[in-house]
């Protein structure tokens, strides 16, 4: 620097006398408003993300409820189990059946099948369907047992 020590000191003395400035009185209000706007904006973005998250979670739940397999309630699981058991019993009964079989039991089975069909037609809930499948299984078990008893009697003759 080519300035002398004395000149530098005089410049520094001048700089020390620089005035200070006061901002406009309304500036703090503007800052508070700007800060509030930013918070609202960030909050809206956060709410948007949370909303999107909730929507995604609901979509997963709806898809699971609508799916034929997978996460089902206890009653739904029972109904499915009763239905599968019923199909197995029906196969067992048909394999062993001797026509015309036990007429009252067959009539009871037909009545239960009509009730089940009507229930499905009106969109009945699992709570209503499960007992009907249980009744059908009992009727099938009865028919199977009856046929088995008859077969045993014929064998003895």
């Amino acid at each position: 620097m080519s300035t002398s020590h004395g000149s530098t000191a005089r410049v520094q003395a001048m700089l020390d006398k620089l005035p200070e400035f006061e901002p406009d009185a309304s500036l703090w209000t503007r800052i508070e408003d700007a800060h509030a706007r930013r918070r609202r904006s960030r909050s809206a973005v956060r709410t948007g993300w949370i909303g999107a998250g909730i929507a995604a979670a609901l979509a997963v739940v709806v898809l699971r409820i609508g799916a034929p397999e997978g996460g089902t309630s206890g009653v739904e699981a029972d109904t499915t189990a009763w239905q599968m058991q019923s199909e197995a019993l029906e196969r067992e009964w048909l394999a062993s059946a001797r026509a015309p079989g036990h007429v009252p039991a067959r009539a009871r089975l037909l009545g239960i099948d009509d009730a089940l069909q009507a229930a499905y037609d009106r969109g009945a809930t699992s709570d209503e369907l499960a007992p009907l499948w249980q009744q059908r299984n009992a009727a099938l078990r009865s028919l199977i047992d009856h046929d088995a008893a008859r077969t045993a009697a014929v064998t003895r003759i």
Binding site: M1, S7, V11, L15, E22, P23, E32, H35
Partner: protein
């Protein structure tokens, strides 16, 4: 420290501000707004631009105060934010001058200081190019090193050294010239 950034912030106000207390925010503004505005004004020389800087700095400070760890004094943290925001304005706007050290003083005629302006430090400062004013104020008044100025301006240390030397030379000539005039007054 010669500016209001040297004021201490009490631990209770800082803690309240960290918790989002609006009154603590207002107390911090009341304590440091003048220092922020003064620094921005001395560099930019325009009240509207300086107010924008203060607004930007305080909004950012309110957003980040929860994460302020207190490694440095609060005022020093705020001063750095203010200097950064102000230099950002200088660098963004071409009306605040060219980046090239040689061009900073181009087109600037002699300060031609006389009369009342000669004794008015602010008038002398306002006549300097904005980048020269920024380097002068940050180095001579706020205590920034050339290394810090290099980081602020994204230039080498020789950039601020060169501009500061020429700025001081001009000011010294004017101050000395005026001193000479004053001595001539019988």
């Amino acid at each position: 420290m010669s500016s209001g950034f040297g004021q201490e912030l009490d631990a209770l106000t800082l803690e309240r501000a960290r918790r989002g207390d609006g009154r603590a925010y207002a107390a911090i503004y009341a304590r440091y707004a003048k220092a922020c505005y003064t620094l921005a004004m001395r560099i930019l020389g325009e009240p509207a631009a300086a107010e924008d800087v203060v607004q930007d700095v305080f909004v950012r400070m309110l957003d980040t105060i929860k994460g302020f760890r207190g490694d440095a004094p609060f005022g020093a943290w705020l001063k750095r934010m203010t200097a950064n925001a102000t230099i950002d304005v200088v660098r963004r706007n071409r009306r605040f001058g060219d980046e090239d050290a040689e061009e900073v003083f181009a087109g600037m005629s002699a300060l031609e200081v006389s009369g009342e302006d000669a004794v008015d430090a602010w008038s002398l400062l306002k006549r300097l190019p904005p980048r020269a004013r920024a380097i002068l104020v940050l180095h001579q008044v706020e205590g920034y090193t050339h290394k810090e100025l290099a980081e602020l301006f994204g230039q080498s240390e020789s950039y601020s050294k060169s501009i500061l030397a020429r700025t001081l030379k001009r000011l010294a000539a004017d101050v000395d010239g005026h001193a000479g005039e004053a001595e001539e007054i019988p």
